[in-house]
């Protein structure tokens, strides 16, 4: 509903981790993200939505990572952005800092967390106190 899949990319656009929540979007769509971003950077246009065909990429940047949600529907954009920021918050609380290294070192936990905070595109519990159980 909110997001079909969520990706964490490094600055070059390489996928560090991805969770496909709904299975209705081809995961390879993410390959289109970075080239569009590069082009936009040239045009100094960094608006937070990127469209490729019928796929919408909603992204935020945190330290050296991109967090990208993709959808093909008229999703609640406000919800997606605040969810992505919440995700950053949760990861930061777990790993002290959220960056490429901490994702790589803790990928099992990252997967578990991603499974817990969102189900079928619907954000679930994101309260880190409850998640720590």
């Amino acid at each position: 509903m909110a997001a079909s899949a969520i990706f964490i990319l490094d600055l070059k656009g390489k996928v560090l981790i991805c969770r496909n929540y709904m299975g209705n979007v081809n995961i390879n769509e993410i390959d289109n993200f970075m080239p569009i971003m590069m082009k936009r950077e040239e045009d100094a246009d960094l608006s937070p939505v990127v469209i490729h065909g019928s796929t919408h990429f909603l992204w935020i940047k945190h330290s050296n990572l991109y967090l990208v949600a993709i959808t093909k529907k008229n999703t609640n954009a406000a919800l997606v952005y605040s969810f992505l920021y919440k995700l950053v918050e949760v990861f930061t609380e777990y790993f002290k800092s959220l960056e490429e290294e901490s994702i790589r070192d803790n990928f099992v936990t990252v997967y578990e967390l991603m499974d817990e905070v969102m189900d079928f595109g619907f954000p679930q519990t994101t309260d880190s106190k409850i998640l720590l159980e």
Partner: protein
Amino acid sequence: MTFLYLGHNCATLGEIFELKAELNSDKKEKKKEAVKKVIASMTVGKDVSALFPDVVNCMQTDNLELKKLVYLYLMNYAKSQPDMAIMAVNTFVKDCEDPNPLIRALAVRTMGCIRVDKITEYLCEPLRKCLKDEDPYVRKTAAVCVAKLHDINAQLVEDQGFLDTLKDLISDSNPMVVANAVAALSEIAESHPNSNLLDLNPQTINKLLTALNECTEWGQIFILDCLANYMPRDDRESQSICERVTPRLSHANSAVVLSAVKVLMKFMEMLPKDLDYYGTLLKKLAPPLVTLLSAEAELQYVALRNINLIVQKRPEILKHEMKVFFVKYNDPIYVKLEKLDIMIRLASQANIAQVLAELKEYATEVDVDFVRKAVRAIGRCAIKVEQSAERCVSTLLDLIQTKVNYVVQEAIVVIKDIFRKYPNKYESVIATLCENLDSLDEPEARAAMIWIVGEYAERIDNADELLESFLEGFHDESTQVQLQLLTAIVKLFLKKPTETQELVQQVLSLATQDSDNPDLRDRGYIYWRLLSTDPVAAKEVVLAEKPLISEETDLIEPTLLEELICHIGTLASVYHKPPSAFVEGSRGVQHKRLPARAGSGESAESPDVGHSGPSEAPPAVIPSQGDLLGDLLNLDLAPPTVTVPSVQPSMQMGAMDLLGGGLDSLVCSSRALGGDIGGSPSMGAGLGAAPAAMPASLGSAPTVGGGLGDLFDLGGGVGMPTGSYVAPKTVWLLAMKAKGLEISGTFARRGGIIQMDLSLTNKAMSVMTDFAIQFNRNSFGLAPAGPMQVLTPLSPNQTIDVSLPLSMSGPVMKMEPLNNLQVAVKNNIDVFYFSCQYPLSLLFVEDGKMDRQVFLATWKDIPNDNEAQFQIKDIHLNSGNRNKYVLDRVLQNYSKKTNVFRDCMQKQMYDSTSVDSLVHDSLLLKGSYDAILKIIIWCNRIC
């Protein structure tokens, strides 16, 4: 532990072998480490699907962490190994009965993610149990699982009765379960637009509102978004929902706030405006919207795009909040640009000084895009707030003095608009503008400057030199500039014909002979013919007074605005486009509408209660191609309310019949008329009264007199059927352009009533309902006389024929071509637009009788100098009145009273298309030689 990222996508055989051994190890720890390694390989994109059986073997464990890892693997590879996925079913079934609720939930969550059709039916029983589980965590996970299963096999979910169970969960005692059930139902309902899945009633609404206060921020959003789709029964229910939603406005999560704003914006539509609560609610909306601007930049962006809509819908909410939209130096550019837009929307006389000071500062910043937009904003302020125009112009002049190239260019573009808004007021600045002519390198600025030179050619001494200088590189210019240059030089020629003949010939030949661009060529030809045929007419056309532009050129058209308000917070509200414009397969999804204000019942207190919201009149929008469409949308597509326009003289003339007994003598006298009929300046009361004197025998066989009888006989002779000629239906709207709806049609006149005969064909897969039709304003005020009657739903592959009676009392606007009609048809899927052309004969009334005196008076009324004479040779006038008649018509049309052709033509007489094209051509060409030639040919043909 650190995993190295290797560049290749295939695990080597050695790796696989090693992992296989570890997975089958007896030691739990070793197993777990092995599964972790498998997952790690999977994460970096290596194909480890060969290990499927070995990993699944690890599934039966009590260790939650190991189980999670195995499930993760399963979700990833089950789809590529459907046969082996069945091996996992038993474990799922078992895990769903595990004493540990976490394991039950994990199992039900994972099994929904295994998108293998074969195994879904095995999952029904465990799912059914989990939906009724004692633990809310399991129930909420099971609720989502129903949506997952529905996505894989909708039929199965319906057959198993899961939808009913899901509906029951709306009454669950746990708010998170309620929220997830709502989310799942909304998701399912989206793919079944016509189902009554979410038939909310006051009881369920009450449950949702109760859960709203207790669930997580995300759950609150699900519930609010669901509430927004509900239509309260009356204003009281609407108010009570608003009251319970309002506390959400103070939530820390911007998305919760926006969803609450959406509900409130929608439901306050229904509240009577004199209600105290209405005012209170308006006041309560401002602070949360302001707070949204302190969120992260991306959220600010979403908020600003939505505030842009809210400000257009209800400007009063934020009218005192101008300052919060002032740009901060560290705002990202996309936020800056959105803020600027809102600043202009909020600009008013009260705050314009502040705004201008800000804008002037922005215009000196470094970011080019931002500076451009700031300059443009100054121009928009001038147009929006009249009192500020002078200051804006002087600010713009200051900016031009900076000589910063892009600033100068933007300034010139907006000054052109200012000229159009306040003609004859600021032309003194033209000299300054002309100084910068050479520095303009952007097409838009060049075009604007050329427009200014052409428009004010009489005041610019060297206008011809200036324009000539542009002409040198004509073919290198962009189309925009070429078109503008062509028009400007024609204007110049009409103003100063003596010195500029050479120039105009040059540009006309460049445009028509040396250009491949059809737009340019056609415009060139039109000017050419206009100038060579009738320079006086050309002057009237080319130098016609232009309508003033109005303050807002970029308002969102009201129907779209309403729809977007219903989508606050979503991508649609960010793009300012309806979801149907960017979501695949969204056809059949109802366009969301705001509820109607409670006006029909007890609260019909004020006359201005309409769905268009507050009483401020919607600002007029500059008519342009896009806005004509806007007008169509504006018409609301409800059964037409006939607003009788102030009838223009030409309409009156058209409405009466000019054909009468005097026909014979007229043709004889028409050649002699020229000299002695003085042009009486106005038609006077006699004419106005004439229609009333007409026999009221429309519809029956006309009571024919003298010449008319002859005409009738002849008509029969030509072989026309007694009924009027009706062209065969042609396709007006292609199914592929209208989501499966094909419309073909034609026009007919039956018994004095104009009818639009339509065939609606459903070429889509789903049933179509709720048809409605509306016309844009058109040359003769054609409008549906009643709603389009499509009583039964239109099933796939079915065709329905409808005859829509038309009246001529709609609003009038000259169309190009004159007989063009723009139509909007709405059904449950979408609104579609097409245009068609009606035969002009459609407008000719059956009863052509007219008193001779009246006719002559009418004739006289056409000013003398409009009359032209010419000899038509080789016409056998003795072949009947028909020819005389035709000639008469042509002469009349030729006499430039171009609007007078909705008159006496007896359509039964002629092959309609010939008459149409004849009249049409003679009108367009204003009686050029060509047209007359055509008439002669035509006359000869029918003789």
